[in-house]
């Protein structure tokens, strides 16, 4: 099982870059790494997905080292509105299925 481990919470200040690292030591060859963001009282929404090296979109960057045993979500110049829970997912959970394990995520609090 590709279990993930990420910090329970993080604090940051507006304008800073935030890096959230996720460990997934037993990631499988075919697994992708996906990050979701969840605001209070809303469902999660997709942020970014990658397989290896670096992926960047308009919201974030995802860094994946060669061994793929960890990944880092990077949020540039965060604002108060980036306060949310961030989930790292690796999977799918089992071959031929579409099961993903969300876990408890990282609660990011951006301070003024």
């Amino acid at each position: 099982l590709a279990k993930t481990t990420q910090p329970i919470s993080m604090d940051s200040y507006e304008g800073q870059e935030v890096n959230i690292t996720c460990s997934h030591n037993n990631i499988a060859t075919n697994d992708y790494i996906t990050w979701y963001q969840q605001f209070p009282s809303q469902g999660p929404r997709f942020i970014i997905q990658g397989y290896k090296t670096k992926v960047t979109n308009e919201v974030a960057s995802l860094f994946i080292p060669a061994d793929r045993k960890s990944s880092t979500l990077s949020l540039p110049r965060v604002s108060l509105s980036d306060t949310a829970v961030y989930y790292c997912l690796v999977g799918p959970e089992a071959s031929g299925t579409y099961k993903y394990i969300f876990g408890t995520g990282t609660r990011l609090k951006v301070l003024a």
Partner: protein, 114 residues
């Protein structure tokens, strides 16, 4: 552009009653999912469906029943509600599984079982 909707948004019921939570998506996505979210547990998958009439269990299926007679609808039924099923329930959909696809979540249903 309705996307994915859930109803009701809030529900209070009593122990032992049957409750059905509705989920409807307008994208004709093949895959649909039900999650529950409790404090300290993150999101846990209850059931998912790969297509109409095809469903499979997730992490926590006990006490729940699903059906998928139409692609766009994926109702979740609590046959005999228990207090431990008090939670926020999220429905999600995804286009396909051939390549890893993102899941699109609904706004959630807050269920309180007294």
């Amino acid at each position: 552009d309705a996307g994915i909707t859930q109803s009701p948004r809030y529900k209070i019921t009593e122990t032992g009653r049957q409750v059905t939570l509705m989920c409807h998506q307008t994208w004709s996505h093949s895959y649909m999912f039900w999650y529950r979210q409790d404090l300290g547990h993150g999101l846990r998958l209850i059931y998912y469906s790969a297509a109409a009439d095809i469903t499979d269990k997730g992490e926590v299926p006990d006490g729940y029943v699903v059906s998928r007679s139409k692609t766009e609808n994926f109702p979740l039924t609590l046959e005999s509600a228990t207090r431990s099923q008090t939670s926020v329930y999220f429905c999600a959909s995804s286009e396909s599984m051939g390549k890893i696809e993102t899941q699109y979540f609904g706004p959630g249903t807050r269920l309180l079982v007294l």
